[in-house]
Structure formats: structure tokens, C-alpha cells
């Protein structure tokens, strides 16, 4: 059990499932569904095993020795053209406090999403094939430590997502799908370019002491591994690090999505089937912020420190702008989509604080937003399945007709507006405590608190429009939740409440890493300063 490659297992299990499903006749729908459920279920168990074996005291981030469950094999090793030197791509997986939370999140959300995919009607087989492929892509992104590998997983998600939205989506699905695809691809080509640039700027020292260019992210994080004249090397007086950073950041920001690159999100969400919205909001958006924390921050600490104010600013814009846009929406799902924009703003703000509390808050917020928004989209799905409309003004008084459903929704809503006792509160509070703690962005943090108010505004208004007031005649037939919906909502609710009461469960996981990162960023100023006079 010690050297069992659990990360590869959890990552490629879905592919195995895919291959099996490939040979199941498409008429065996329940078999396919149950198999997928099984696969994702095993994933959750695997995630829990990882959690069990996880050592809380190890930092990770830039220190290879303190990553856990490491799997490092030579994948591609070309004893190179004399003039490039050797090309070496490692199959390098490993997790630290930063990624373990995301792995857990992915496992849970995917499992829930599988449940909510149960009522997919057309071409089940194709759907679940794509679904599982997507699953692998997401898992992979969170465990990969080699940039090349990371990028492959990153791109691997595009196509399945395109089809999942484009085939199983709503009326304007094709538009939404292509929009999503193009935006993300645009982002990822920037990432690709920076990746290559970094490859030529950073080296890795092999056992025999020879230095070679590398895709190994961890090596890129050590300033001493940079070549003297690499275009992205801090040692090179006229390097392009700033531009590269911005390109990279934009690449990730599109996924977050950060204003003004967010416009794909509402369309994608509105058109996507419920399960996919859940995945999209629950996991995919996190990849943007995860990427920034995993790649931008440690590899470009010098630039990060310079630009942190702008990151916070964009976070603030996301918060306020998203909230205000949400307030004006007439479509339930679109409103939730915009609320995601607002909530991801908190993550950005927290990250920008560059101190432990802020970054912990950001990561915690990533996790909480994953679960809460998943819940919100599920609830939207529930009502849409029954009423076949999402117009907020079409409803009213549903609390009388579907009290339990109303209960869950209320829980999710209050979690989303950061009610104490529910998970949302801790992360938001931490984000603000952190942001306020860092002098440069203090004002932005204070302004940002408006987001809490606006959040309460649109959420309660939505509550009122959907659940309160007198019941409309046409809805007095709607049934309340069924077993499957319980199965989806209860676990999430429990997580939301549990993390609200005992956030340490998550925070302890990441503490070591976050502190390590903060330390790293602080040292960076001196380290880089000594190299390229700040």
C-alpha cells in the first residue's frame, strides 16, 4: 500500500472506466450509468485514502522533498539534438496542501455530478464517455507537477467539455460551446507559449550533475535553476518575465473567469446540462485560480509581488461587478452563474493578500464555492426539471409547495452569502482578514466588503421571488425532492455545515503549504532582489 501509485490510480481510473464503457452496448444504459457511478465512487474513496495518508506538516509548493504521494518516472527522454540539449519530460505527479483540497473537491463534485447526470436522455454512452474523459483531465491538472503534463491535462478537458455542452446542452448550446472552447483555447495557447519560454529559461540538474532544460515546475521555482540569458530568466537583464506573466495570468484568468474575460461563463452555464454546470462551477473555475497559485505565484514571485495590487483590483471588480450583474438577472441559472463570478472574485482578492490568512481563505473559498455553487446549480436543475423554466418571475410561493426543496435551497443561499455556521462565512471572513492584513490592498478589501451586502441583496431577493409570496396556480402540482436529489443534496449540505462549524478540517490540510508559500514569496523579494536589483 505504501508505494501504490494512488495518484495515477485516481487520475486514470476514469479512462479505464471509459474503455470498459466503450465495449458496453449503448442499450445497456443503466449499466453504463452505474459503472460511471462506481468509478466516481471509487475516486471519492481513493481521495479519502489520500486524505488519510496525507502528512499535514509537509509544505510542498516549491520543495520537491515535501510533496507527497510523488510519482516520478522518466516519460520522454530524448538525448537531444546537440543544440537543444536533452529534452526530458517526466511523468511527475504529487500533491501538497494546495492540491489535496482540490483533488478532494474534484472527487466529490464529480460523484455528485454523476448522480445528477442520471436523467440524461440522449446518447447516454457518449455522454458518460465524455464525462469520464473530462474527469481524468480535471484530476490530472490538480496532481501534475510537470508543466508539460499539466498542459496536456489542461487541454484534455476542452474537447469533452465542448461536446458535453454542445450536444447535451440547452437551445443555444452550440453558441455557448464554441464560445467556451474558443475562450479557453485562446487562454491555453498563451499558457503554451509561456511554457515553452520557461522551458528554455530554466534547467534541471540531473544525477550526473549535468544541467538540462526542463518542464519540471518545481525546478522552475528555484531561481538558481534559471539560465543566464533565457528570455524568461530573472538573471537576464532584459527578460520578458512581465509580459509572460501577464500572458500566463490571462490564460488562467479566462478559466476563473476574471472580468473582462468572464462573458463565456453565463452562456456556458445557462446552456449546459445541470451536471455539467455543477462540474463547470464546482471544479473547472477552480483550475484558473489553482493554476495561478501553482504556476504564476511560485515561478514568478518577483512579478507577482509587483502586480499583486492589480490582481486584488480585478478581484474586487469581479466581486462587485458580478454581484450587481447577478442582481439584474431574470434567469435563475444565469443569476447563479454571475454569483460565481462574484465569488471567484473573493478568491482573487484573498490570493492577492500574499499572507497566510488571505491565501488560506482563498483556497478554502475555492473549495467552499465548489460545494456551495454545485448545490445551487443542483437546486436550479431540480426546479428546471419540474417546471421547465428558469425565469425568476415565473415562480413564487414554492416554499409552500416544496418545503424540503426550499429548505435545501435556503441553506445553499445562506451559505453563499456567507452566513456564519456555514462554510461560506469562514472563507469570506478569512479573505477579508487577509486582504486587510496586507497594506497595499487594504482599501480594496474594505470596498470589497460591499460584496457581502450585495450578495445578501440578490440572494434574498431571489429567495423571495422563487419561494416566498403566494403560490402560483400552475405550480401546485410540483412534487418535492425525490430520493436521487436527496442523495445529491444531503452530502453537500453536510459538507457545507461541517466546514462552517469546523473549518480546521480543511485549513489544517493546507496550513503548512500556505505558510510555506507565504514564506517563499517573502524570501523571493530578497532572493530575486539580490539578482536583479528590485
Amino acid at each position: 500500500m505504501e508505494n501504490f501509485p494512488i495518484l495515477s490510480f485516481i487520475t486514470f481510473l476514469p479512462v479505464v472506466g471509459m474503455l470498459i464503457i466503450l465495449f458496453i452496448p449503448k442499450t445497456q444504459e443503466t449499466v453504463i450509468k452505474s459503472l460511471t457511478l462506481l468509478v466516481t465512487g471509487i475516486q471519492v474513496i481513493a481521495a479519502l485514502i489520500i486524505l488519510h495518508g496525507f502528512n499535514y506538516s509537509l509544505g510542498g509548493i516549491n520543495d520537491p522533498s515535501s510533496f507527497q504521494f510523488i510519482e516520478k518516472f522518466k516519460w520522454i527522454d530524448i538525448t537531444g539534438f546537440s543544440w537543444i540539449g536533452r529534452i526530458k519530460v517526466d511523468y511527475f505527479l504529487g500533491i501538497d496542501g494546495l492540491s489535496v483540497t482540490m483533488v478532494l473537491l474534484t472527487a466529490i463534485v464529480t460523484f455528485i455530478a454523476t448522480l445528477s447526470s442520471w436523467n440524461i436522455s440522449k446518447s447516454i454512452k457518449g455522454y458518460f464517455l465524455m464525462f469520464l474523459l473530462l474527469d481524468t483531465g480535471m484530476m490530472g491538472v490538480f496532481v501534475a507537477l510537470d508543466f508539460f503534463l499539466f498542459y496536456i491535462f489542461w487541454e484534455l478537458m476542452l474537447l469533452p467539455m465542448y461536446f458535453l455542452i454542445g450536444i447535451w446542452g440547452g437551445p443555444r448550446r452550440e453558441y455557448a460551446a464554441i464560445k467556451f472552447f474558443l475562450y479557453t483555447l485562446l487562454g491555453s495557447v498563451f499558457i503554451l507559449l509561456v511554457m515553452i519560454g520557461l522551458y528554455f529559461s530554466s534547467t534541471e540538474t540531473l544525477a550526473d550533475g549535468s544541467k538540462i532544460f526542463t518542464f519540471n515546475m518545481l525546478s522552475m521555482m528555484d531561481v538558481h535553476n534559471f539560465t543566464a540569458n533565457g528570455i524568461l530568466s530573472p538573471l537576464n537583464p532584459n527578460n520578458l518575465r512581465l509580459i509572460a506573466y501577464i500572458a500566463l495570468f490571462v490564460g488562467f484568468a479566462i478559466k476563473i473567469p476574471m472580468f473582462p474575460f468572464h462573458t463565456w461563463l453565463p452562456d456556458a452555464h445557462v446552456e449546459a446540462p445541470t451536471a455539467i454546470s455543477v462540474i463547470l462551477a464546482g471544479v473547472l473555475l477552480k483550475m484558473g485560480t489553482y493554476g495561478i497559485l501553482r504556476v504564476c505565484y511560485p515561478i514568478f514571485p518577483d512579478i507577482t509581488i509587483k502586480l499583486v495590487w492589480f490582481i486584488a483590483l480585478f478581484g474586487l471588480i469581479n466581486i462587485i461587478y458580478g454581484a450587481l450583474c447577478a442582481m439584474a438577472q431574470k434567469d435563475f441559472k444565469k443569476l447563479i452563474a454571475y454569483s460565481s463570478v462574484s465569488h471567484m472574485g473573493f478568491v482573487l482578492l484573498g490570493m492577492a493578500s500574499l499572507n497566510t490568512i488571505g491565501i488560506s481563505g482563498a483556497i478554502l473559498q475555492m473549495f467552499n464555492h465548489g460545494t456551495i455553487t454545485a448545490m445551487l446549480f443542483l437546486t436550479v436543475g431540480v426546479i428546471y426539471d419540474r417546471a421547465h423554466t428558469r425565469g425568476l418571475d415565473d415562480f413564487g410561493g414554492l416554499a409552500t409547495q416544496m418545503p424540503i426543496y426550499a429548505g435545501f435551497t435556503t441553506l445553499a443561499f445562506f451559505a453563499a452569502i456567507g452566513l456564519p455556521g456555514l462554510s461560506g462565512f469562514v472563507s469570506e471572513a478569512f479573505v477579508f482578514l487577509g486582504a486587510f492584513g496586507s497594506g497595499s490592498i487594504r482599501t480594496l478589501a474594505v470596498i470589497g466588503t460591499l460584496g457581502i451586502l450585495l450578495g445578501a441583496g440578490y440572494m434574498l431577493w431571489t429567495m423571495q421571488r422563487v419561494f416566498l409570496g403566494s403560490l402560483k396556480e400552475k405550480w401546485n402540482k410540483l412534487p418535492d425532492l425525490d430520493f436521487r436529489e436527496y442523495a445529491m443534496l444531503i452530502p453537500l449540505s453536510l459538507i457545507v455545515i461541517f466546514l462552517g462549524v469546523y473549518p480546521s478540517a480543511m485549513l489544517n490540510l493546507m496550513n503548512a503549504s500556505v505558510n510555506h508559500m507565504v514564506k517563499f514569496m517573502m524570501d523571493a523579494k530578497t532572493v530575486y532582489g539580490s539578482l536583479i536589483g528590485f
Binding site: E174, Y175, A177, I178, K179, L182, F259, P260, F261, T263, Y321, L324, C325, A326, M327, A328, Q329, N355, T356, I357, S360, G397, A399, T400, F414, L419, P420, G421, F425, V426, A429, F432, L433, F436, G437, A445, V446, T449, L450, I452, L453, L454, A456, G457, Y458, L460, Q464, L468, G469, S470, P503, S504, L507, N508, N511, A512, N515, V518, K519, M522
Partner: protein, 702 residues
């Protein structure tokens, strides 16, 4: 009898109602009688809290008992070193007394509701909500740190939201709930910012630790200005929760909720939480902050009082009187009359709860008729209600032998002393004026409701005295509105244990020069004649202040008696003996009358400004998002339309997914490119030759 027992007791008292909430909520649908479980729980909680208070006040009157645990450990932070967030329970005299008040009133309201809410279709859930409210209120009472305070702060907000909107089928109800929550959030933003400053400065939330550090002269941003700001920001929370000016607008609307709820939450306990908060942070409030608090208190005492004069909805009148009374407490804190503020909190809790429950019983009897113009003469029909209601009214008007007289008199004395010390008599003036108004509108209410001839006959005929479960709480509360529980001498509260032993003005931690002059520990009376020691009282804040209070006592009492009597007199002149005609008066001072009748137009103003603004911006942004941003990011939308009209072929392609405008653009480029693919080979040749020539000119390298 160890202190840990206290903590355990407190813990049990805190979490019992939560248990009640969960059980009642989950089983509410299945088991019809589950509400009894909740009631039982509350009764247990009450008896336990009596035990708790007894132990605390009799065995450990001096020391505060604290039990805390580590909630979040952030590990070993760079620079800061290890940081952790602790939550915990603190039981001191204030908390002990407060918990009794809360759980007692909560219990009474529960019992009252059994009858009042009979036949409601969400009967059980109502009790569940009461449960979670009690839980969160207890939390506020017991907290030993400001974060936990904030947490339960929000939770009471939630429960009040749920209870105000309990009859959510009524739009007005759900609106009121929403309004209450959001307006409170506004205040909470301030409080939260205050917490941000505190945590940033001290890296802890615990009151004691913060106090100690301030005591050591470590203040936010090393400036007294910021200390004041912090104080004011924290106080913002109180402004919201205690419905102080300018955030008082939610409380009157909150009367949409069931009347017992109004009694419990919006009169006795939750709204008092604001005052409780200020009491908790009192030691670190600088002079500036206190002065600000005093002003807010004064305004909140005055404005609603004027509004209450003209309201005709029985609950609205009481609501405004609540705001006004809370204003009193805040004011008294602002002028430094700490102990009287808390004293008034307690007394007010009882008689205001009584007033509301009384009105509830009236409304119940009148089949949910709330307009006092349709009432009258009810005293024959419902004597108990009348009697208790009358006592409460006397108490609130500050007539001797009532609890209200004692506490209110203390507050007035405080303002008086403040005037004498600082030469600023404004607060005193407001205090007495409001006392007058209070007496007037309260008896206007009593007279119109219970005296004279019934104005709505058949409603009157169906009216009847309430059942025992409703009457009993009234009686209990009425009893509690009598002076005897608080002091043997009906004219001097100081002689009772409450003020002489239990409620003590706290040690002030604010830097000396940030305080009111008279609060400086070195501030001695001008002529050292009979000082505090002389008539062996202990020193509050400073010799000066103690003496001033001492001197203010008697004149304030007389004056307050006078104004109260005046108010009473006018009330009778207007409404009982009809010597004066209110309508004529109203005609004479039309503008003022309208101003009062329309609640000073606060709601209108807010709707016209903040609400409208926010919604407007949000619509604007949404439009921008849909049109401009999408446009900018995807290319220009207008160009789009131009081009698509330019070529019909476009639309097919558009439909084919090239919807965004970059797509249009690229499509446009593509269009150009395909224009040259004419299919005529000779054209190609020409193009080749041309481009050849161009290339030759471009690249001739010399």
C-alpha cells in the same frame, strides 16, 4: 462548586435550544406535538440559567469565568509566528443577568405562543425558529470574543429574517424580512470592518486579550483617531441590530411578524443585543466614539418618539417606542452611565415584552385588528390584559414604584451629570423631552385602546379575555415591572444588589487622553469636600464622575417625575377628557404632523436613493455586460451587424457557430481572401505575377 461547572452549564444552556431547533425542524412534519419538546427544552434552559445566575452571582460575584478552546489553528505564520483563533464562553455578572432575562422572556413567549399561534399551518416550524433564535441569542450573551459575537450576530439576523417573514405568503412580510436582514447587513459591514481592524492590530478576537493590549497602549495604526474609528465601526453593528438612527427603518416593518416574535426579538432581546455589544466593548471606547454613540442614541431616542405620537397601529407605536427606549440605553452608554444602561436594558426587556404580549393578546382578541382607532373600551372585556398593560405603560413612562422609573431616572441622571461635567446639556434636554413624549404617546395608546367607548362594535362584542397560557406570561412580566425586584427603596436603585454588587462599571482600557476628561482615573473633584469615600460609595471611573452622578440624582429624579406627569396629563386632556382636540392641533401644525405621521419619510428617501441607485447600476452593468463587454471581448458588435448585412452568406456561417464578432471579423477577412479565389486561372496568374513584383520590391536587400 468549581468554575468549570459554570462553563458546562453555560454550554448546555447555549446548545439546548439548538437541539430543540434541529429536532423540531426535522420531525416537524411527522410529529404534530413536537413543539412541546421545544417548549420543554426552553423551560429546562430557563431553570438552568437561573441556577447558573444563582451560582455566579452568589459564589463568584467578582471574577469572570472563561472557558475557551482553539477553533482554528493557522500554524506558525511567517513573521507573525503562531496564530490561532479561539472561541469560548465567558460568564460574568452581565452575562449571568442577561441570560436570565433572555431565557425567561423566551420561555414566556414560547408559552404565550402555544395559544397565540394555535392553528397555524407551520406551527411546529414556528417553534423551531424560536429555538434557533434563542440559541443564537444565548451565543451573543455568552461569547468571550468578538468573532463569535459576530457569528451569532448574523445568526440572530437569520432567525429574525425567518420569523419576520414567517407568514411569507404576505408580500409585505417577506419584504420586511428581506429589509430587516439587508439593513442589518449594512450595520454589520461596519462591525465587520471594525473586527478587521482589531484582528489586524491584535491578531486575536478575544475581548480580554484585546483589552490588555490596548491597556498596554497598543492601539490601531498607533493613532487615537483610528481607535475612535474602530469603536464607531463596531458600534455600527449596534446601530443596525438595535435599530438606531439612521438604520432604524427595519424595525417598524418587522412588526409583520407574529406578535410574540415582536415581543421576544424586536422588543426584549435581539434589539437589545446592540446595547449588549456596546456594553461588551465599552472599555475600549474612546471619548470620541462615546460622544458619537451618545449623539446617535439621542437622535434615535427623539425621532421615533415623535413618530410614535401619531401612529395608529398598536404595534407600530410600540415599535417606535422600542427604538426610542433603545436610544435611551445607547445614549446613557454614550454619556458614560454604563450600569444604568444595562439596568434599563433589563427593565425595558420586561415591560416592553409585556407591552407587546399585551398588544398581542388584544390583537388576538380583536381578530387581528391592529388599528387603535377601531378599539376602545376593552378594559371591561379583558381586565388582566388591561391591568398588566397599564403597569407596563407606567413603567415605560417612568412613574415611581415601577422598574422603568428606576432605570430611566438613572439614565436621565447620567445625562444630567454629563451636562454638569462637560457643560453640554443637549443630551439631558433630549432625555427629558423624550421622557415627556413617551409618557404622552404611551397613554394615548392605553386610553385609545382600553378606555372610552368601543368604536368598532361587533369586533368588540367578539373580544374576550385571553386563555391562561397567554395571561400567565403577562402577569409574570407585570410583576417583574415592579421596583421591588431591583431595590428595596423605590427611589434609589443603588441600594439593591443589582446595581450595588452585580452591575459594576468596568475598568477602562483606553489611553487616558483618549477618554472623556471626567473618566480619567486621575480626574479628582474640584473641591475635596465630601468625596465618594466620605459617604463610602465606591468610585466609578473617577472621583469627579462619581460625585457628579451623586449630585445629579435628586434633581434628575424630580425633573423626570415632572415631565412624565406632564406627558400623562396631556394624554388624558387630549384623549380621555377630550378637553383638547388632537385633530385641531394636528391642523395647526400640519407639516410637523405629516412629518411625524410619515415617519420622517425615511423609507421614501432610502428607496429613492440607495435602493434605486443600486438597482439602477446593476441593470446598467447587466446591460453593459450583455452588450459592451461581450462586444469588446469578442470584437465589436456593431461591426458585426454591419458586416452581416453586408453579406447574406454570413448568417449561415453565423448559425454555424461563428457567432462572436471576432468570428465575424475573421469571417470578414476570410471573405476577402475568398473574393480572390475566382476560379479563373488567369486571374491567379495575374495575382502571382503581381505579388512577385511586390516581393521583388519588398525584399531587394540593398
Amino acid at each position: 462548586m468549581t468554575e468549570t461547572v459554570l462553563i458546562q452549564l453555560a454550554g448546555i444552556i447555549l446548545f439546548l435550544p439548538l437541539l430543540g431547533f434541529i429536532v423540531t425542524l426535522l420531525l416537524g412534519k411527522k410529529i404534530k406535538l413536537i413543539y412541546n419538546f421545544e417548549n420543554a427544552i426552553i423551560i429546562i434552559a430557563f431553570s438552568l440559567s437561573v441556577v447558573l445566575a444563582f451560582i455566579k452571582l452568589s459564589y463568584y460575584p467578582q471574577n469572570t469565568v472563561v472557558g475557551e478552546f482553539q477553533w482554528i489553528n493557522l500554524g506558525n505564520l511567517p513573521v507573525l509566528g503562531p496564530v490561532s483563533i479561539d472561541l469560548g464562553i465567558m460568564v460574568d455578572n452581565i452575562a449571568a443577568l442577561m441570560i436570565i432575562v433572555v431565557s425567561l422572556i423566551s420561555m414566556l413567549v414560547h408559552i404565550f405562543s402555544i395559544a397565540y399561534m394555535k392553528g397555524d399551518k407551520r406551527y411546529n416550524r414556528y417553534f423551531a425558529y424560536l429555538g434557533i433564535f434563542t440559541f443564537s441569542m444565548n451565543g451573543i450573551v455568552f461569547t468571550h470574543n468578538i468573532l463569535m459575537m459576530y457569528i451569532f450576530w448574523e445568526l440572530v439576523g437569520l432567525s429574525s429574517y425567518l420569523l419576520i417573514g414567517f407568514w411569507y405568503e404576505k408580500k409585505s412580510a417577506s419584504d420586511a424580512g428581506k429589509k430587516a436582514f439587508i439593513v442589518n447587513r449594512v450595520g454589520d459591514l461596519g462591525m465587520f470592518s471594525g473586527i478587521l481592524i482589531l484582528f489586524y492590530t491584535y491578531h486575536t478576537f478575544t475581548f480580554d486579550k484585546i483589552f490588555q493590549q490596548i491597556g498596554m497602549g497598543h492601539i490601531p495604526f498607533n493613532s487615537e483617531f483610528w481607535l475612535t474609528v474602530t469603536g464607531i465601526l463596531i458600534f455600527c453593528g449596534a446601530i443596525g441590530k438595535s435599530a438606531q438612527f439612521p438604520l432604524h427603518v427595519w424595525l417598524p416593518d418587522a412588526m409583520e411578524g407574529p406578535t410574540p416574535v415582536s415581543a421576544l426579538i424586536h422588543a426584549a432581546t435581539m434589539v437589545a443585543a446592540g446595547v449588549y455589544l456596546v456594553i461588551r466593548v465599552f472599555p475600549i471606547l474612546s471619548g470620541g466614539a462615546l460622544f458619537f454613540i451618545a449623539i446617535i442614541g439621542a437622535l434615535s431616542a427623539f425621532i421615533p418618539a415623535t413618530i410614535a405620537l401619531t401612529q395608529n397601529d398598536i404595534k407600530k407605536v410600540l415599535a417606535y417606542s422600542t427604538i426610542s427606549q433603545l436610544g435611551y440605553m445607547i445614549l446613557s452608554l454614550g454619556v458614560g452611565a454604563y450600569s444604568f444602561a444595562f439596568f434599563h436594558l433589563i427593565t425595558h426587556a420586561f415591560f416592553k415584552a409585556l407591552l407587546f404580549l399585551g398588544s398581542g393578546s388584544v390583537i388576538h382578541a380583536m381578530h387581528h385588528e391592529q388599528d387603535i382607532r377601531k378599539m376602545g373600551g376593552l378594559r371591561k372585556k379583558m381586565p388582566i390584559t388591561y391591568a398588566t398593560f397599564l403597569i407596563a405603560s407606567l413603567a415605560i413612562s417612568g412613574i415611581p414604584l415601577t422598574s422603568g422609573f428606576l432605570s430611566k431616572d438613572g439614565i436621565l441622571a447620567g445625562t444630567f451629570a454629563f451636562g454638569s461635567l462637560t457643560g453640554n446639556w443637549f443630551f439631558a434636554a433630549v432625555g427629558f423631552l423624550v421622557a415627556l413624549l413617551t409618557a404622552f404617546y404611551m397613554f394615548r395608546l392605553v386610553i385609545l385602546t382600553f378606555h372610552g367607548e368601543p368604536r368598532d362594535k361587533e369586533k368588540y362584542d367578539h373580544a374576550h379575555e385571553s386563555p391562561f397560557v397567554m395571561a400567565m406570561p403577562l402577569v409574570v412580566l407585570a410583576a417583574l415591572s415592579i421596583f421591588i425586584w431591583y431595590t428595596p427603596n423605590p427611589f434609589n436603585p443603588e441600594q439593591g444588589p443589582l446595581l450595588s454588587q452585580w452591575i459594576k462599571a468596568p475598568v477602562i482600557y483606553t489611553p487616558q487622553d483618549a477618554r472623556y476628561p471626567f473618566m480619567r482615573s486621575d480626574a479628582a473633584p474640584k473641591e475635596l469636600g465630601q468625596t465618594a469615600q466620605a459617604n463610602n460609595e465606591e468610585v466609578v471611573f473617577s472621583e469627579t464622575y462619581t460625585e457628579a452622578m451623586h449630585n445629579a440624582h435628586v434633581p434628575a429624579m424630580l425633573l423626570s417625575l415632572f415631565v412624565a406627569g406632564l406627558g400623562l396629563l396631556f394624554a388624558f386632556l387630549f384623549y380621555q377628557w377630550k378637553k383638547l382636540n388632537p385633530d385641531k392641533l394636528a391642523e395647526k401644525i400640519k407639516p410637523l404632523y405629516n412629518l411625524s405621521l410619515n415617519k420622517w419619510y425615511f423609507d421614501e428617501i432610502y428607496d429613492a436613493t440607495f435602493v434605486a441607485l443600486t438597482l439602477g447600476i446593476s441593470r446598467l452593468f447587466a446591460w453593459i455586460d450583455a452588450h459592451i463587454i461581450d462586444g469588446i471581448v469578442d470584437g465589436s458588435a456593431s461591426l458585426t451587424r454591419y458586416i452581416s448585412s453586408f453579406s447574406g452568406k454570413f448568417d449561415n456561417v453565423v448559425v454555424d457557430g461563428l457567432v462572436n464578432s471576432t468570428a465575424y471579423f475573421s469571417g470578414f477577412v476570410g471573405l476577402v481572401f475568398r473574393r480572390i479565389q475566382t476560379g479563373k486561372v488567369q486571374t491567379y496568374i495575374v495575382l502571382v505575377v503581381f505579388s512577385l513584383v511586390i516581393i521583388l520590391f519588398l525584399f531587394k536587400s540593398f
